[in-house]
């Protein structure tokens, strides 16, 4: 490409993404900033791959509808998590009704979905997929709120007050749920270890 530095100097630099609060409230900006967040956490909260598109769309339709009511008492991320938590619960409930049992997303995964921009080798992707599958299986064994607490705090690095806001819990209750979530997760790890004496992924 011979599009020169001279030209590059004469053109304006691309505008930075809007960061001011009013812009943050615009749906499209929220969408761009939170799409990956919504997608991955719907998966972590147990929405099967076949339903991820629908669930993601549901989340953003709610965001679109409710954005004007967002009062800014929490971060947008926390607010969005509260929405996706409820949407994920709705989808899981609907699936249970439809299939008669809880649907684990493990096994639904298309390996190709894990082919991402990080240019992993097939072996890397396989190992990654195993690790993700295994984590999801452990998360499947937790109650919904415990699972959400673990995802928010341990995986998304939100603070406990933020997680409490997202789930509409009092702070003390949130701490209690986190404690219970960690204990339940440890139990799930122990169970998995006992079932796989040869080693876990």
């Amino acid at each position: 490409m011979t599009w020169s530095a001279e030209t590059a100097k004469t053109v304006d630099a691309p505008e930075p993404p809007p960061t001011a609060q009013p812009d943050e409230l615009l749906f499209a900006h929220v969408y761009e900033q939170h799409f990956d967040f919504v997608w991955r956490n719907l998966r972590r909260l147990g929405v099967p791959d076949a339903h991820i598109d629908d669930a993601t769309q549901d989340v953003f339709l709610v965001v679109h509808r409710k954005l004007s009511e967002f009062a800014g008492r929490s971060s947008v991320r926390t607010w969005v998590f509260g929405i996706l938590f409820r949407v994920a619960a709705d989808h899981r409930r609907a699936l249970r009704r439809k299939r008669g049992d809880a649907q684990s997303r493990a096994g639904d995964i298309d390996v190709q979905l894990l082919a991402d921009e990080r240019n992993q080798t097939p072996h890397d992707r396989f190992v990654q997929r195993e690790a993700v599958d295994f984590l999801h299986r452990l998360l499947d064994s937790l109650e919904d709120e415990q699972r959400a607490m673990l995802v928010m705090i341990e995986l998304e690095q939100l603070s406990v007050p933020e997680a409490a806001q997202a789930l509409g819990l009092r702070l003390n209750t949130a701490y209690a749920r986190l404690r219970a979530a960690r204990q339940a997760f440890e139990r799930a790890v122990k169970r998995a270890r006992s079932q796989s004496p040869g080693g876990m992924p």
Binding site: S4, A8, E15, A28, H29, R44, L155, R182, Q183, E186
Partner: protein
């Protein structure tokens, strides 16, 4: 509070990555969600405006939504342009509350907020009534029509025309995404011949510059960019076009 054991933490850490969407997921969902939210807005607008301005106004707003969404689709300037789409919807909502709002006024406001130069007041009317053949290069703009006179204008094919124009532009965009700039340019030039100024002239011009840059037709690209900047100095597509063409540190 008791922390997780190292083993549990290692499992969480190992599974932390791998749930993110692929670029294909992002592209697929963006189109679906933006369409769904725009439809919701358009339906709301249509219901509000239906009694006030009639079907012509609804069609105009629908066209604006398509146009604004197309901006996002055309050059992938998703964040900026999607914000614009939102603003565009907001404008149409606002306008719909005004029972005397004129279709061309809505177009003017939406385009202004979208960062474009204010178009001639007949731009949208022309776009909606765009013939399948290139318009004459010179024509005197007719005076803006009040909303009450808008319905009798011959617009039965407006939505079809805009849809066809949108589809054609999308095809060129797909060629660009497939790194087939030559085909993209060929398609865009054919569309310029077919639609003339058209409703998507702005987006087409942006895509054409990117195609020229991809083809390393630098001189033509520079001239086209200069024309683009002159025609659309506040275009939200401008940063994207420049970013696509400029190579820093070269």
């Amino acid at each position: 509070m008791k922390e997780l054991s190292p083993e549990a933490r290692a499992i969480l850490e190992a599974g932390r990555y791998g749930d993110d969407p692929t670029p294909e997921d992002r592209a697929r969902l963006r189109a679906t969600i933006m369409r769904a939210t725009a439809m919701g807005a358009a339906v709301g607008v249509a219901l509000t405006a239906g009694n006030a301005a009639g079907g012509a106004l609804t069609a105009v707003k629908g066209a604006m939504v398509i146009k604004l969404l197309t901006v996002a689709a055309v050059v992938g300037a998703a964040s900026t342009t999607a914000v614009i789409a939102m603003r565009g919807q907001h404008v149409t909502h606002e306008a719909a509350r005004d029972s005397t709002a004129k279709a061309d006024t809505i177009a003017l406001e939406a385009a202004t907020l979208a960062g474009e130069e204010p178009p001639p007041t007949d731009m949208l009317s022309d776009a909606l009534a765009a013939p399948a053949t290139p318009p004459p290069t010179t024509h005197a703009p007719p005076p803006p029509l009040p909303a009450t006179h808008a319905a009798p204008r011959p617009r039965p094919n407006a939505a079809d025309t805009l849809e066809a124009e949108t589809n054609d532009l999308r095809e060129a965009q797909e060629a660009l995404r497939d790194h087939d700039a030559a085909r993209a340019l060929q398609l865009l030039d054919a569309q310029i011949a077919r639609y003339g100024r058209g409703a998507l002239e702005h987006e087409r011009a942006a895509a054409r510059i990117i195609a020229l840059c991809d083809l390393r037709r630098t001189s033509e690209a520079k001239k086209a960019l200069a024309r683009f900047r002159q025609a659309y100095p506040r275009s939200p597509l401008l940063p994207r076009v420049q970013a696509a063409c400029a190579v820093p540190n070269e």
